[in-house]
Amino acid sequence: MNFKKSLREGLLTNNPVLSQLLGMCSTMAITTTLFNGLGMGLSVTLILICSNVVISLLRKIIPGKIRIAAYIVIIAGFVTMVDLLLKAYLPALSDSLGVFIPLIVVNCIILGRAEAFASRNSVMASAVDGLTQGIGYTAALVVMCIVRELLGSGTFGKGVFGADGIRLIDAQYPALMVILPVGGFLTLGCLIAGSQWLNARMKEKEEKK
């Protein structure tokens, strides 16, 4: 059914990071190792699904005037739950993401999806939307992480495959800059450019048909 279309939207045509340009703070800040990216992506996906479902359930009860405040409270609740669970069961991830876990509250992707989708669609559709948008976000993070980790520290999968990951470039050669804030901006810029190019090409192809 719609899942395939929704997944395509989440990953490519309507990717939360690359097309909607939301949630850029975390996208640039924590994408220094694959471990961080995967952890952040999965946490956000989980929160996105939960908040979408709950907001969709309550969409007829919450009056329009206070909806933003209500959404924020609900989202903050889920974020804190994930924060506590990570601290209890995955302390290593919680340490390396630090303040960016509580900051998921103000990640515009979640509030954006609540406002644009969950508040006007059924529970099932909202859950699917949360999942596919979350996957899109995670995919963007993972690509950023792989590029930045490879170029910046010369490794792959630090923290995922052993403490030091797989070393692909000798320790003295990587361009440190890519791991630093500068690298975040440059990598994301190139990535968005790439996705714009891809989308433009796909559109062209469809028009030719």
Binding site: T32, V73, I74, K87
Partner: protein, 171 residues
């Protein structure tokens, strides 16, 4: 007026439900989180100065979080102001006043740069020091981490502070 009350009530209800759920999750995870924290601190203490028991001392010294008496020395817990915020450190100091080990409990440093301060081969250079350390850039002997002078300076300064604190405690 009635409408506003209704709005406030709904918002209050949502907040109460969320708070209740959080209380529940907190109740369920609290012990485990405390256990994790204690375990981490304990592992750090064991690395810097192995001992069968640690006795917390009642000491106040500027910039020191906690001081423990171990067999054959002291363990000092303190914060260093690194590049990305506070670095929580454990420093072991022997009875003779030389450093027996340094361990990082938590930090917010940049991955691959300042975050390398947790590496064993970097921390081990502090072992045997008796205070007054400086990084090479400032004319001292400590090898700074590549691209992370701020972190290296902060840790070095914290180690000096721990040594000073123990000097005071011994007297």
């Amino acid at each position: 007026m009635k409408y506003i009350l209704k709005l406030a009530l709904i918002l209050l209800l949502i907040t109460v439900v969320v708070a209740g759920l959080l209380g529940l999750v907190n109740y369920l995870t609290e012990d485990r989180i405390a256990e994790n924290t204690a375990k981490k601190a304990n592992v750090a203490m064991q690395t810097v100065l192995p001992s069968a028991s640690y006795e917390k001392l009642d000491v106040t010294f500027e910039g020191i979080t906690e001081v423990y008496k171990a067999e054959g020395g002291y363990v000092v817990r303190l914060n260093a102001m690194g590049f990305g915020g506070a670095i929580d450190l454990m420093v072991g100091v022997s009875e003779q006043g030389s450093v027996t080990g340094v361990s990082v409990i938590s930090h917010g440093e940049t991955a691959s740069l300042g975050a390398e301060c947790t590496r064993e081969d970097w921390r081990s250079q502090f072992v045997g020091a008796v205070g007054g350390l400086q990084v090479k850039k400032d004319g001292g002997t400590v090898d700074a981490l590549t691209g992370a002078t701020v972190t290296s300076r902060a840790v070095t300064e914290a180690v000096n502070r721990a040594v000073e604190c123990v000097k005071e405690v011994r007297q």
